[in-house]
Assembly symmetry: C2
């Protein structure tokens, strides 16, 4: 039954993920062959620094000329784990033009140029798989593209960045402030020396773009995703969330509008109830909660990063793509047929939790309530506390358009009796 010709794999990048992919391809060669129906062979490894020792990799396979490798013509599958936009983009399109299918873990590239890459795969009749690009080892792209292909997804709510979840979990469990928790994350290797991409939500925004596109069968680019980082979340915010029976998570939220005619995608910190399955996602774990019409509420949980987990996702794709090649078939391509527009953040319907520092005198609450009413935002609860002439008001709103909510906050800032807006946090997952 086993084909004589092995399938040839070119590996672009041999860092944390790439070296793990190469290792598993070697140590689990027999298992992979059994699952694919033919052996797979590492045919070349493109690296930047050829002199670095790479344990278990035949030095004769190592090259610095990635372009020549993807142009060889005998490569069945190119595995791209370089990351970033260039040279990854050009290498992937060149690979398609020379007959290879592609497995990629590149979220930034997929979020920015997914449509063009899918088109290149389509034109050349090849596969483009990228399970590893979102939430590491967690099967998510395949369940959304395939398992839920007969259902209608209305909402995706995800913790898709492990660094920020580790920081927020530490803040929640120890009462630490942001900087202290970030320092611990850095010390433990959960945060990079420059944590900007994580803590400012850029990484999560790229994943949100990919998830929204797949979930709603439409095109969502990175620029379409509203983004707020979590560097301004304070220990006081976390304590406030606790008092409401909530915790704070950095969420990627993709929603279909109530009228079904548009979608939104956004990343920001939000309060979610402790009873929500996402609330119990600890440390650097990721989890994605999916709401669909027929299936109801699903959640996918696991490690969102790391060499071995990401390699697991890459290899799952590699097996699928190799099987498709043997069958001269293709997996599902891009599905963007719904062509739904992406609405701006102002159109999102959500709730706010707002803490105000106010003057401790009669009539303040009435003034504040009037501002909400003027903006058409209905108040759910208000909590007042005060001492020594200082007072604070915590207002939780009902659901309203984000534009109305931010308009309300702007107007509150202009009230003489409001000394400051201590925090604003959206409330999700209810």
């Amino acid at each position: 039954m086993m084909r004589a010709r092995p399938l040839k794999v070119a590996l672009l990048g041999c860092g944390v993920v790439g070296s793990e992919v190469a290792r598993i391809m070697t140590t689990h060669a027999a298992d992979l062959a059994a699952r694919i129906g033919a052996p797979v062979e590492l045919a070349g490894v493109a690296v930047r620094r050829p002199d670095r020792v790479r344990e278990g990799i035949d030095p004769s396979l190592v090259t610095t000329d990635a372009t020549a490798l993807v142009k060889r013509g005998d490569i069945d599958v190119v595995v791209e784990v370089i990351g970033g936009i260039e040279p990854a983009r050009t290498l992937i399109t060149t690979a398609f033009e020379h007959g290879a299918s592609v497995v990629s873990a590149n979220k930034a590239l997929l979020a920015q140029d997914g449509a063009a890459l899918h088109a290149a795969a389509e034109v050349n009749g090849r596969d483009l798989y990228y399970e590893a690009a979102v939430a590491g080892a967690i099967p998510l792209i395949r369940p959304l593209r395939e398992s839920l292909a007969g259902d209608k997804v209305n909402r995706v709510l995800g913790i898709v960045n492990g660094t920020t979840n580790f920081i927020l979990d530490k803040m929640d469990s120890t009462g630490a402030g942001y900087q202290e928790a970030l320092d611990e994350a850095t010390a433990l290797g959960y945060a990079e020396a420059d944590p900007t991409a994580d803590v400012e939500g850029f990484d999560a925004a790229a994943k949100a773009a990919i998830l929204a596109g797949i979930a709603f069968h439409t095109r969502v680019r990175l620029d379409d995703v509203y983004r707020e980082g979590m560097t301004e979340v304070t220990a006081a915010d976390i304590a406030s969330a606790r008092r409401m029976g909530c915790t704070i998570k950095l969420l990627a939220i993709c929603e279909r509008a109530a009228d079904g005619e548009s979608v939104t995608a956004r990343v920001h910190p939000a309060m979610i109830p402790l009873s929500h399955p996402l609330a119990s996602v600890r440390e650097a774990y990721n989890a994605v909660f999916v709401e669909s019409e027929a299936a109801g509420q699903l959640m996918f949980y696991g490690p969102g990063a790391g060499g071995a987990p990401t390699a697991s996702a890459v290899l799952g794709d590699l097996v699928a793509v190799c099987r498709n090649r043997l069958a001269a078939a293709r997996g599902p391509g891009e599905s963007a047929y719904t062509r739904l527009p992406v609405s701006p953040m102002g159109k999102v319907v959500t709730r706010y939790h707002i803490s105000l520092d106010v003057a401790d005198k009669p009539g303040v609450l009435a003034q504040v309530a009037t501002v909400f009413a003027e903006h058409g935002v209905s108040i759910d609860t208000v909590r007042q506390s005060g001492k020594d002439g200082e007072a604070s008001l915590v207002v939780v709103t009902h659901r309203a358009h984000d534009a109305a909510l931010s308009g309300t906050v702007e107007a509150l800032r202009n009230l003489d009796t409001v000394r400051g807006v201590a925090s604003i946090m959206r409330v999700e997952g209810e």
Copy 2:
């Protein structure tokens, strides 16, 4: 791009799941066509009672002759949602022989005759998909078969029966006894009039057999699965679990032995730590926790039953099978190449939590400890409490072979000073 010829689907069974499949095929016809690349058409619906009104289904499609329907020869996909062994088994093999692929939700049949059905699909070059057979809407078969195809699964730990999870969750949250919680489950429609298949673990055992086979690429039949129901779990057991920082769940557990040379599959109630992700699975939800070599710990969560969720899984399979037919390709078939033997329960390595009613006199603990030592079972903790000449001992063991643990319990029963074994519960998920 759209093929003119629609793909023809025969639906066997039109109960809670079947009618939902038919409804979605009609209401979401354009979406399904876009995802498949061709329209799908309901070509026939086989039912037992043709006179029952079936809203939204063309009466001319309804037949009582399921055999004639699957033999028609123009059917692309047969969707079997009858359940049970016969006539489902014969209809499925007949469908393969007449050129159709099959989507089934039939856990009992797959657990008992999966190998024969896969062989029939293989011989005829057709697909057999059954995502809906395990844990309803939760994508599980596809992630295990495909997403983790490049990884090595070592353990699957699942809450795969919603009825028993509802009962145990009620007992845990309200302090109710088994019967009271069962009555509530029945009143709310979560338990059937005869709850035997659920509460005695038969339903979960079928799912464990299917999961073990797919996870370990070996053949596991229903008879290979050790099974204990949860009817004897008491409010006192739940309280005991709480004192240990645990809760009690009915678990389906599939494990690869430490030496990798055999596998086990079992269903029984067990204590799991409250910090384990499965502990927070409430009400009738299902969740499956997967441990693999590279990916690490993954969890899949969602509704495990119900018409619409099960239909979602069926339709996901239907889209995949239809796409395969258009491409003249096949999805992954059965993968049982590892041919690992299934070890009996005695070989399982686990921990016990044992409550003993003992005489309140000196030396009892020494006697009991001696029995454990004689059987090679190491004690982790002992808690003694007593009053009025009665006393109880709660012993938690370290990990040992299940055979040694049950041998220990037998010997304890024969001690004069042990008046009774109040409860025995395995401890998992640590």
